[in-house]
């Protein structure tokens, strides 16, 4: 059992939610300090630019780290092999990726790049690092929203199918209802049950958002007989499930979409770095 997670649950150190592995943070901080210290001493002795031996050394280290980072993607496709714990790989990916950006800056001597290729490489490196860190932020933040009051737990890919099932069940109940409930269903619920819907309010207050949307049921309830009220309650339950599915759909989506901002750009960066290395070594 991981002590870190236990601490999160107990709520002693909330910081651990954000820093899952303090040892990695410590190692990263030491590496960062060493890099910057080296750079400071180095810069006081001689000028650093991407073309001289110091710059090339920093660039080489950055490239090695980048390769290590890319290997995580390979590891994710080889889960059946015992290549170590995925968590360790992720930690390396995150901290190694950040250190990569620092080494890129050191490689360029903390100066604006010169030339289109260098600009592209520099910008992509920063983009990949920042989008990666944004991803880390999302991965720490979004689970806390999802676990703050939703009773349904669902696999994202199954949401449309489950919404469909809810709709079919709701339609069956409505068939047996009076016109009052039928009209209510048609006006307020039918449209919502067609497909998963994304609503920004879930990011702010997931349970509050659902409660607000369930309020419409209060207006019709006093108009119904006891039997109809029972059916309405069942409908309400189904609608609540649908809203929870919507909440999952809304909240889990950024975790998927974020990858599109990170992965393709990373691949582009890898290719361009390879080209850059080829050009530098040949010419």
């Amino acid at each position: 059992m991981e002590t870190g997670v236990r601490d999160i649950v107990v709520g002693r150190i909330d910081l651990k939610r954000w820093v899952q592995e303090p040892r990695w943070l410590l190692a990263f901080s030491v590496a960062m300090v060493l890099c910057l210290l080296t750079y400071a001493i180095n810069a006081s002795i001689s000028e650093i630019n991407p073309g001289n031996s110091w710059g090339i050394t920093y660039g080489t280290f950055a490239s090695i780290l980048m390769v290590g980072d890319v290997l995580y993607a390979v590891r994710r496709r080889m889960l059946k092999y015992d290549l170590g714990n995925s968590k360790t790989w992720v930690q390396f990916h995150v901290y190694g990726g950040t250190l990569f950006a620092v080494l890129v800056l050191m490689h360029s001597g903390f100066r604006w790049p010169v030339g289109l290729m260098n600009w592209v490489l520099w910008s992509l490196s920063l983009w990949v690092t920042l989008s990666g860190l944004f991803g880390v932020f999302l991965q720490r933040w979004i689970p806390t929203i999802l676990s703050s009051g939703l009773s349904v737990e669902v696999v994202y890919e199954r949401i449309p199918e489950l919404v469909d099932q809810v709709r079919i069940c709701a339609e069956k109940v409505v068939e047996e209802c009076t016109d009052t409930v039928k009209d209510f269903y048609k006006m307020n619920l039918a449209g919502a049950l067609v497909a998963p819907q994304s609503k920004a309010i879930y990011f702010v207050d997931v349970t509050g958002g659902i409660r607000t949307m369930l309020r419409t049921f209060e207006y019709i309830r006093p108009l119904l007989t006891l039997e109809e009220k029972g059916k309405l309650e069942r409908l309400e339950g189904m609608y609540k499930t649908k809203l929870e599915l919507d909440a999952h759909f809304t909240i889990q989506r950024p975790l998927r979409w974020w990858l599109y901002t990170h992965v393709p750009v990373s691949l582009m960066l890898v290719l361009l770095v390879a080209l850059h290395l080829y050009v530098v070594s040949v010419y």
Binding site: V9, Q20, D82, L146
Partner: protein
């Protein structure tokens, strides 16, 4: 996938849940659903009326077994009790019965009671009984007895049972593995009764209950008491007298065993099942604790000065078998052996602490209730996911699928407890009910820990294990293939071939379960018992 020789052999053996009827097995003839008139020919059914016998007849079969046929092996889980009509059955502790030509119906399942992943090689080769004694000795909190002893047998012992005798009933009723191997010495006729009907028969007929109790006393109770830390210091004579004094009691699910504040009538020892303990708070009851097998009820009431009534209400969570020692008899034991009292005090203190904590902390009570309802108390390895950390990336499921040929053995769905998701992955239960009734022995204990695995080469997709599993942890997989044209029984030919699949804890992989090591955020855990789970949820008591 091509059915191999083993599979064909298993399929040939299969007829129904009763047996591996047919070629290569020990059964020569079998008749099912006997009429009341037929049943009444056998002494064991004589006292029951037609209506009752009609009701239980689907659970009864009459089989003729061939000489040397192995009825069941030590370590197998069965849900049948046998009544000998004619012939002779040999009961022994021998693991490999010499001379047996047939494959046993209830395939041997080696039971080693350790946490999954723990390698305890010295456990291998032990009998079920030895393994349980050794497990009990490792558990400091356990001071009471074991259930799985069917016969008082010396290590190389062997006894023969003849017409009119009953066997297999203790393991079947307690849901524990058989502690002996049974073999037909000559051709014999046996009446086979499933456990559900045996329970009804025992409840309806006081004479049958007395007979079963007497058998239990004669065959098992003495050894059980002598190997129990609580009574191991007592002389043989005293234990022998206790054997006669102890009352064996059984309860249906949700039946009240003791009611709060009513007079406490004795000390109860849980032989099988779980007992829920609840206390009155305000106008309702809250669950304060539970007793598993080996638990003691009545210790606090009998030891604390001035306490006469039950501290809590005790009710059975499922079918429970208990042993009761009356207040006076218990007092006699305490007078003669004061050491027993000091052993009991530990359990009293622990239970009172837990009860007090549950009354103060509502979530503790909720936790115990949920653990009992969801079967967490049974689990040896429960996969839980911390939803506060989980990014729903499904790498755990993907890792599982990659390790098992593209088919995941669990889904990331299930019940929530606090911020934890209890997935529908096999719990690898202490008493796995899924093992009961598998006609081919495809589902069994693996060689390591408490792992339960399914051998897909011999699974015939009969759904028995999936239907038995109360936690939906076994799924039926459509293989997309059809049974071959030479399949026996014929009714399978040309039909879709299904396969039961479940988590096997990746026990063959030294790196451990793929679900846990594939989680990029370290939020998937395997918890060995509910204490570990509670530690995850909050600070332990």
């Amino acid at each position: 996938m091509e059915p191999g020789k083993t599979q064909i052999r298993r399929i040939e053996q299969y007829k129904d849940r009763w047996s591996s009827f047919g070629r290569g097995t020990g059964i020569l003839d079998i008749s099912e659903k006997p009429t009341p008139d037929v049943l009444r020919q056998y002494p064991i059914f004589k006292e029951f009326d037609d209506k009752f016998l009609e009701k239980i007849s689907p659970d009864v079969s009459i089989a003729r077994w061939k000489k040397n046929a192995v009825l069941f092996e030590e370590g197998s889980y069965i849900d049948i009790a046998f009544f000998i009509v004619s012939g002779e059955v040999e009961i022994s502790l021998q693991k490999d019965v010499s001379g047996a030509q047939q494959v046993p119906i209830f395939n041997r399942s080696r039971t080693v009671f350790v946490n999954p992943g723990t390698s305890v090689p010295e456990e291998r080769g032990k009998t079920v009984f030895q393994a349980q004694v050794s497990k009990q000795n490792r558990s400091a909190s356990s001071i009471t007895f074991l259930s799985s002893i069917d016969f008082n047998l010396p290590s190389e012992g062997l006894i023969k049972l003849g017409p009119g005798e009953i066997f297999g009933e203790i393991g079947a009723l307690s849901g524990w593995p058989q502690s002996v191997t049974a073999r037909a010495s000559v051709d014999c006729d046996l009446v086979q009764i499933r456990v559900a009907s045996l329970r009804q028969m025992r409840k309806t007929s006081p004479s049958l209950k007395n007979r079963l109790d007497a058998l239990y006393r004669e065959r098992a109770l003495f050894s059980q008491l002598k190997t129990t830390p609580l009574f191991s210091g007592l002389s043989d004579e005293v234990v022998q007298s206790l054997v006669q004094k102890i009352e064996l009691v059984s309860y249906d699910p949700d039946e009240v065993i003791a009611r709060e504040s009513e007079p406490c009538d004795g000390l109860y020892l849980v032989r099988s099942g779980f007992v829920k303990l609840s206390q009155r708070v305000g106008e309702g009851n809250i669950v304060v604790s539970y007793l598993p097998k080996g638990g003691i009820l009545g210790d606090a009431e009998l030891l604390l000065e001035g306490m006469t009534g039950w501290i809590c209400t005790a009710s059975s969570k499922e079918y429970c078998e208990l042993a009761k020692l009356s207040r006076n008899d218990f007092g006699d034991v305490l007078t003669k052996y004061p050491g027993v009292e000091s052993l009991l005090w530990n359990s009293v203190v622990n239970r009172l602490k837990e009860s007090g904590y549950s009354k103060r902390v509502v979530r503790q009570s909720e936790f115990i209730d949920t653990a009992l309802n969801k079967g967490l108390v049974e689990g040896n390895s429960i996969l839980v996911i911390d939803l506060n950390v989980c990014t729903r990336c499904d790498d755990c499921v993907r890792g599982c699928a990659d390790t098992h040929g593209g088919i995941p053995r669990f889904v990331r769905e299930g019940d929530k407890l606090g911020n934890f998701l209890i997935t529908r992955a096999c719990y690898h239960c202490e008493d796995p009910v899924c093992l009961v009734g598998c006609p081919t022995g495809a589902i069994r204990r693996a060689d390591v820990g408490d792992v339960v695995e399914i051998d897909d080469k011999i699974c015939i997709g009969c759904h028995t294990c999936a239907n038995n599993c109360p936690y939906d942890a076994i799924t039926m997989l459509d293989t997309g293939e059809k049974w071959p044209d030479d399949t026996i029984p014929e009714r399978y030919r040309g039909k879709e071939r299904e396969l039961a699949t479940k988590c096997d804890l990746c026990y063959k992989d030294p790196a451990g379960p793929a679900c846990v090591r594939s989680c990029p955020h370290g939020c998937a855990f395997r918890v060995g018992d509910i204490k570990e789970f509670r530690e995850l949820l909050w600070k332990p008591v």
